[in-house]
């Protein structure tokens, strides 16, 4: 039977708080819409977990995670849209996206996993750019820059949920993020997870114990790609559109990297915290700040700092530097 440890109990508490969080919106005065940014946080926490499996467990740095997200989003869109013959249900589309994602991970992983560190990062960075270009130019399949939309509203057990329903989507994404969290936790505690960490720590020692690093790295690459594709599919389903190829650019990969590093590389709960901080900053604080600056100035100023969108990546970069400094100090002390 499952034994609950104290950290399990804390996590369950956090989960139940999130379960009743929407009630707050109706109790609290004002027009604060808390559900919208939280949905983004859930999506990006799945993306963060996917990068965490690769960078945190196995120690492989990938900068092309947005490419897999885009593939997942388009795979979901193509398999559920009415303009194509497949017209699968929500779960069918999700499974197709995960399969496509893991195949893409395998196809990228097989030739590139002999690379290490920075070199792998450069190859995956290239992959992310190639995916965007392919999606843009394969017009017969992906409809080019306009994307595939609208997607049919998914239905669960006879209940159709449109993109306008905020509350059901909140719970669906919460469950998805929770499921992925426990999935990654299970991986971490299994023999596979220990093998991944062993390969991060010392590849030669792990291989002399009988692990085949190539095989285990490929599994972790596939797993990460599948989770990123899953995040893309969920994103497409709650937006009702595959999005356009430019949505899956390097900024998404950089944001995922920020999430993993701000959360403390190698810690799963940290990933959740990181996505809360980074995406929360992105979709709550920046939005409010933009509104504030608008009312303050009345007209659009010519200053670069007038719009937070202009300097948000500077803040992300600063966060990376600060966290790396603190972690580095702690590691050397």
């Amino acid at each position: 039977m499952v034994q609950l440890t104290s950290s399990d109990k804390k996590l369950l508490t956090a989960f139940s708080v999130l379960l009743f969080l929407p009630a707050l919106q109706y109790i609290m005065p004002g027009t604060m819409d808390a559900l919208e940014p939280l949905k983004n946080i859930f999506i990006f926490s799945i993306l963060g977990i996917s990068l965490h499996i690769l960078a945190g467990f196995t120690g492989l740095l990938s900068l092309g995670i947005a490419g897999f997200m885009g593939l997942g989003s388009y795979a979901y869109a193509i398999s559920t849209s009415t303009i194509y013959p497949f017209q699968l249900s929500f779960f069918g589309g999700l499974i197709v996206a995960i399969i496509i994602g893991s195949i893409a991970g395998l196809a990228l992983g097989l030739p590139t996993l002999r690379l290490k560190g920075d070199y792998l990062a450069i190859v995956t960075l290239g992959f992310g750019e190639i995916v965007q270009d392919v999606l843009r130019n394969l017009e017969g399949i992906t409809k080019g820059t306009q994307g595939i939309n609208p997607l049919p509203a998914p239905s669960f057990f006879g209940m159709t949920i449109t993109t306008a329903d905020a509350l059901p989507w909140y719970y669906i994404l919460l469950c998805a993020a929770g499921l992925m969290f426990f999935f990654a936790r299970q991986i971490e505690m299994s023999r596979l997870g220990r093998a991944l960490i062993a390969i991060r720590d010392d590849e030669l020692a792990a291989s002399s114990l009988g692990f085949v690093p190539f095989r285990i790295k490929t599994i972790s690459f596939m797993l990460s790609a599948a989770l990123a594709a899953c995040a893309g599919a969920l994103w497409a389903s709650f937006l009702g559109s595959s999005g356009e190829p430019g949505n899956f650019d390097f900024n998404i990969s950089a944001l995922a990297l920020c999430i993993v590093i701000v959360g403390g590389l190698g810690d799963l709960c940290g990933v959740m915290l990181g996505s809360l901080i980074m995406v929360g900053f992105n979709s709550i604080i920046l939005v409010k700040l933009a509104a504030l600056l608008q009312t303050q100035q009345g007209t659009l100023s010519s200053s670069v700092f007038a719009s937070p969108n202009n300097f948000k990546y500077m803040v992300f970069g600063l966060a990376l530097v600060v966290v790396m400094q603190i972690k580095y100090r702690r590691a050397t002390r």
Partner: protein, 350 residues
């Protein structure tokens, strides 16, 4: 020289790095219940020999045999790797060809709201090949090149690698201790358990409902091994917090966890104080008593002379002498090459 019962043997093993010959024509064997020591001056090729025997370097020529059979991959795994290569090829063709395929299968047949028909795919492939034979043959060429490189990579990883050697029953420790720093002592040893079967994704997810971390038998075996090396009370400490001698012991326990028939120890007594050295000698003796063949590289002559059943002396990659400790001490070639002009052997040479 080699008999069929030898747990580990090499035949005319040679290892070259470019023009440098690190190991030259070394033939050796080690039986169960036996401790074989390999000694020699610095740079004699002892560690290179170890690396060539455990799959870290591929020997330039010669063979490594475990239980009388050359170490190589099982035919089933070979079949799997070939299959993987072919699948990669088909996948690559499909990716390059996807636009044409899509046009001839989906776009050509799809009428709005008609259901999908699996027949469209073979029809689409037929039409697409007929329509663009040049592109298709180009795809096939690119695919076969990619598949060839994929196969080379897979061969290189699976054919003669540390993992394959570990599967054949070889376990080793390293000259500079290689523990996993982010794990506890217990986890370090646990990693060696059950490595005969590779960890799989499904294996990781099936215990989801039944158990959290490790099976009871894994825990029991790990504890038994930690008890064997005398570190059971330190099982939950971080591997990096242990002393040098204790880390050596953890590494030995981890190697033993893979259930080896041969244990290769690379300078286990280096950096140990006399007490720790004596404890280590006792530990190696008790490993031998378990029926495991032990191959030992050591500079610490007291340890070597006390516990070895046979000694092989290497110089410049060549084997210059072999025999019992007493015979080696009297061997003039060894004395000239290694011990200098005095026959006094009690001092450790470094």
């Amino acid at each position: 020289m080699t008999d069929q019962a030898a747990r580990l043997s090499t035949e005319h093993l040679t290892l070259r790095f470019g023009g440098l010959t690190a190991v030259e024509d070394v033939t050796l064997y080690v039986n169960a219940h036996e401790i074989l020591s390999i000694i020699g001056p610095n740079g004699a090729g002892k560690t290179s020999l170890f690396n060539a025997m455990t799959g870290i370097y591929e020997p330039t020529s010669g063979a490594v045999l475990a239980n009388g059979t050359p170490i190589r991959l099982a035919p089933m795994s070979m079949l799997k790797t070939c299959l993987a290569s072919v699948m990669t090829g088909i996948l690559t063709t499909a990716l390059i060809f996807i636009n044409t395929l899509w046009e001839h299968s989906i776009n050509a047949h799809y009428v709005f709201n008609e259901p999908f028909d699996w027949l469209w795919i073979p029809l689409g492939i037929r039409d697409a090949i007929a329509d663009e034979p040049v592109l298709f043959s180009l795809c096939l060429v690119i695919t076969s090149i990619l598949a060839f490189f994929g196969l080379c990579k897979i061969q290189q990883e699976f054919l003669f690698s540390p993992a394959v050697c570990s599967k054949a029953g070889l376990a080793r420790t390293f000259q500079n201790i290689r523990l996993f720093p982010s794990m506890s002592v217990f986890e370090n040893v646990l990693l060696g358990i059950r490595t005969q079967q590779q960890p799989s994704l499904i294996g990781a997810l099936i215990p989801f409902l039944f158990e959290r971390t490790v099976t009871a038998t894994d825990t029991m075996q790990t504890n038994k091994l930690l008890d064997f090396v005398g570190l059971l009370d330190k099982r939950d400490l971080s591997a990096t917090s242990l002393s040098y001698g204790e880390r050596r012991r953890v590494e030995i326990a981890r190697a033993l966890a893979t259930n080896p028939s041969v244990l290769l120890l690379d300078e286990p007594a280096a950096g140990l104080n006399p007490t720790e050295g004596r404890l280590l000698s006792e530990l190696i003796e008790s490993i031998k008593a378990r029926g495991i063949a032990v191959v030992l590289i050591e500079h610490h002559m007291k340890v070597v002379m006390a516990i070895s059943d046979r000694i092989i002396v290497l110089q410049n990659g060549k084997r210059i002498a072999e025999g019992s400790p007493a015979a080696i001490q009297q061997n003039q070639a060894v004395i000239d090459a290694y011990l200098g002009t005095t026959s006094h052997t009690a001092e450790p040479v470094s």
